[in-house]
């Protein structure tokens, strides 16, 4: 035993996870960093100014208008339900895709901090997801206004939106954590990302509805992690119906798996980030 107690003892690590309880405690102690960092990022992107906020709202609206025109031209349904579906799903999809695009470089951009400060590295992708959440929230308000203008049905089933958003956030966080870790080892992942998200966008029931899909293509459902989330989301916020239990469970399973697998890799790798960035 030591004569006096050291405030920190550093011993060789074995492979695998760090002691989780201690990790969580240091992470919780630094929650102010996550809040402050995401706020600074948002300010940096000018979301604290009037025009910045207008842009934040205008951008997804323009996007949904463009896609709606596309649908009309291609000759799909073009009623108000379809427009509501498109907008709602696009907004939720952007929560996931913004979390990915902000998360991918979160660790490598924090190089200077990683080299010189001891802190739980997972704070960096978490901050990226927090930024994505703050960009998502105003679009929810826009959609609420839009759906009352369109006169979409309303019922208590709409409260299912809350668990769906929570599942989506968990999923988005898991993706941000995973991709930020992968990007430390393969720096060009960020370049592939737009292709990946674009493909995911087209393979998801956003520009089309889940019920439109040809039976031959139903396997897409199984391999697309956002399929069930978006299907449930559309049922709840556009049609004001209860989601299918199976869809909710599949979404939850995807979110939990991605979150835990990503976190496991991140935590077991993060101790060497300082020599890799």
């Amino acid at each position: 035993m030591e004569p006096t107690t050291a405030s920190e003892v550093y011993l060789p690590f074995r492979k695998g996870l760090p002691p989780l309880r201690g990790y969580w405690r240091t992470l919780w102690k630094r929650r102010a960093f996550i809040a402050e960092y995401s706020r600074s990022e948002l300010r940096e992107q000018h979301y604290d100014s009037v025009f910045g906020q207008i842009w934040l709202i205008l951008n997804p609206l323009l996007l949904s208008a463009v896609y709606f025109i596309l649908i009309v031209i291609i000759g799909g349904h073009s009623d108000k339900l379809r427009y509501g579906h498109l907008t709602a799903c696009l907004f939720l999809f952007y929560l996931v895709s913004n979390s990915l695009s902000a998360g991918v470089k979160s660790v490598t951009a924090g190089q200077r901090l990683i080299l010189n400060t001891a802190f739980p590295r997972i704070m960096l992708p978490i901050s990226a997801t927090v930024v994505a959440i703050f960009r998502f929230l105003p679009t929810l308000v826009i959609f609420a206004i839009l759906r009352s203008i369109l006169g979409l049905p309303i019922s208590f089933q709409i409260f299912w939106a809350i668990p769906i958003v929570i599942i989506t956030v968990l999923f988005a966080l898991g993706l941000a954590i995973s991709i930020s870790c992968i990007n430390v080892y393969f720096r060009d992942i960020a370049n592939f990302l737009p292709y990946f998200t674009r493909t995911l966008l087209y393979l998801s029931p956003i520009l089309w509805e889940a019920s439109d899909i040809k039976p031959q293509l139903r396997t897409v459902e199984l391999f697309n992690p956002v399929f069930s989330i978006l299907d449930s989301w559309s049922r709840v916020v556009v049609h004001a119906q209860a989601p299918q239990l199976s869809s909710m469970l599949i979404s939850l399973a995807w979110a939990i798996s991605i979150f835990f697998i990503g976190t496991y890799f991140f935590l077991s790798r993060e101790r060497e980030f300082a020599v890799r960035v």
Binding site: E36, S40, G110, F119, A274
Partner: protein, 263 residues
Amino acid sequence: MSNSLHTSGDIAVSVQHLGLTYTTTIDRRPTLKSRVKTLGRGTKHTRTVRALDDVMLDVNYGSVLGVVGANGAGKSSLMRVISGILPPTQGRVEVFGKVSTLLALGVGFSPSLSGRANVHLGGLAAGMTRDEIADHFDEIADFADLGEAIDAPMRTYSSGMYARLAFSVAVTVRPDILIVDEALSTGDAKFKEKSLEKIKELRSDARALILVSHALGTIRDICNEVAWLDKGRLVQRGNPTDVVDAYSQFLQVGKSAAIDEDI
């Protein structure tokens, strides 16, 4: 941050049989593309670095330890292990008190944010509370003497301004154990003098200081003890004059003006 509760002579850092080996990439920017392109050719993408090897060292409160050594000797690696940034591969490191965690050099990690925001973020990442940072902020800004530039994005800073801010953070947050790395020393002559004074002031304050520097004059001037590292091993340790002389001999430059000045 806590004012030092330690008395001079108490042990601050104890490094026992420390070894550090790590794997790093050969490419500056490892990519999937280069991996795929060289698939099956047996090209090596990583190399193993033996940064520290059986290093024994301790630092007491109220003393200043100078660390000298050529580039790549393992000085920065040693500081990172003491700060808890890199886990050791062998041995044991005990730290009795709060380390500055080189926090200062983390300042500026987000170049698009202002110096003020960076100081706040760096402090929060190092585990300080908002109040602690707010308490110290004026002193930091004052010491760094950046004027209005403190609110300009850090990408607009010159390397001297950057170093001034980093140094100010390091010395102002009053950690029990302060590590001053050579990278902190690119200020102008006036600032250099000011920072030397500050270090001397801290020395008389029963804190433990570790000063990593190539400026042998400064090392001889303010350290109580000097450790010389070479290729990850501790070559010599002891009285500043002896160690610095031996190191100068080793460098075969003798005593010249070029290595005497600077921090």
